[in-house]
């Protein structure tokens, strides 16, 4: 996946951190101190479809470009997470018990075009 730098317009991963102290949640979430949510943004021209990030084969891109040029009603593909990982939380529940859990697929690690 590609991380967004400067004014990049193609599909990339934008870092986004939610500080639990800033939102007043530090009293019930013991660990971690925040949530590295991240998200995907940017354009996915049709010839980029099916490429997870920009590191895929040049030939795939060329084939997709040919397909795109021949399509009558082409729809742009979407910039979506291609790799995610769990968020581990240690928190107080409503009965003041302490719970540790791993919430799957919460942190966006990489983005790509569908």
């Amino acid at each position: 996946g590609v991380d967004c730098v400067g004014d990049s317009r193609t599909c990339c991963r934008k870092e986004f951190f939610v500080d639990f102290k800033e939102i007043g949640w530090e009293d019930w979430i013991i660990q971690p101190e925040g949530y590295h949510m991240n998200y995907c943004a940017g354009l996915c021209p049709l010839h980029m479809a099916g490429i997870p990030g920009l590191a895929a084969s040049f030939h795939t891109a060329v084939l997709n470009l040919i397909k795109a040029n021949n399509a009558d009603a082409a729809v742009d593909s979407c910039c979506v997470p291609t790799h995610r990982r769990p968020l581990s939380l240690l928190y107080y529940d409503r009965d003041s018990n302490i719970v540790k859990t791993d919430i799957p697929d919460m942190i966006v690690d990489a983005c790509g075009c569908t």
């Binding site: 019930w28 996915c44 939380l89 107080y92 529940d93 302490i98 791993d102 799957p104 919460m106």
Partner: protein, 227 residues
């Protein structure tokens, strides 16, 4: 999106940076609460002391290490990936006591009582030094009984307390039954054989607070197979 339209994730109108930040923070909050099956953020009225929490975490880790060492291949069996698993530490609330007995109450959140499967659970009790010799103590697990005040006995164990230290008791089956019935409250009654046995249990607070450590996982709906 209608045919021929741009992907909404790519072509949506850009928000002002401050508005975008607010939207993302709100999205993050809702996402966390939804995944934890909480309607709202919990209001913590009785936070556990740091000492008690650290002791409980250490005990849990020690138990895990022992379990790993006792399995044939030296590893704790892993669960299927993607299935959300919970580890819960429930600290005791004091109940009624007599010169011979003391009651402890444990409450479990409804989302843990109903929608999860209890995999294992252990009750940890810390005994103060009982003096010379051994002291017999009966540990009873009581589940709420809608018909009576005393509750029904879900399990009973007799212990010989020999010295100061922690004791771990398996309460997995009792908690599984409680969870299956949608119950939220487990009461533990400790009864000494003679008067004055109660001080066997170390005073609450500090790092010797009794607790239940449970491991649970979200119930996965059964798949229907088609041949």
């Amino acid at each position: 999106a209608p045919s021929g339209a741009r992907c909404p994730a790519c072509g949506g109108a850009a928000l002002a940076p401050s508005v975008q930040r607010d939207v993302l923070v709100e999205l993050a909050k809702r996402s966390i609460l939804a995944k934890l099956r909480l309607p709202d953020r919990p209001n913590v009225t009785q936070p556990t002391s740091r000492g008690a929490l650290l002791t409980a975490l250490r005990r849990m880790r020690a138990q895990r290490t022992d379990a790993a060492a006792s399995t044939p291949h030296g590893t704790v069996p892993r669960l299927r990936p993607g299935v959300q698993e919970y580890e819960v530490l429930s600290f005791a609330e004091s109940g009624s006591s007599t010169p011979r007995s003391v009651r402890l109450h444990f409450r479990f959140a409804p989302e843990l009582a109903g929608g999860t499967e209890i995999l294992e659970a252990a009750l940890y009790l810390f005994w103060a030094a009982p003096g010379r010799g051994t002291r017999p103590v009966t540990v009873r697990l009581l589940q709420p009984d809608p018909a009576g005040l005393n509750g029904t006995v879900a399990g009973e164990t007799r212990l010989e307390v020999r010295g100061a230290g922690w004791t771990a008791l398996d309460v997995g089956r009792a908690l599984q039954n409680l969870s299956g019935r949608g119950g939220r409250r487990l009461t533990v009654e400790l009864e000494a054989a003679e008067d004055g046995g109660c001080p066997l249990l170390a005073a609450h607070g500090g790092s010797h607070w009794p607790f239940v450590a449970a491991r649970a996982r979200a119930r996965v709906p059964r798949r229907v197979r088609r041949r």
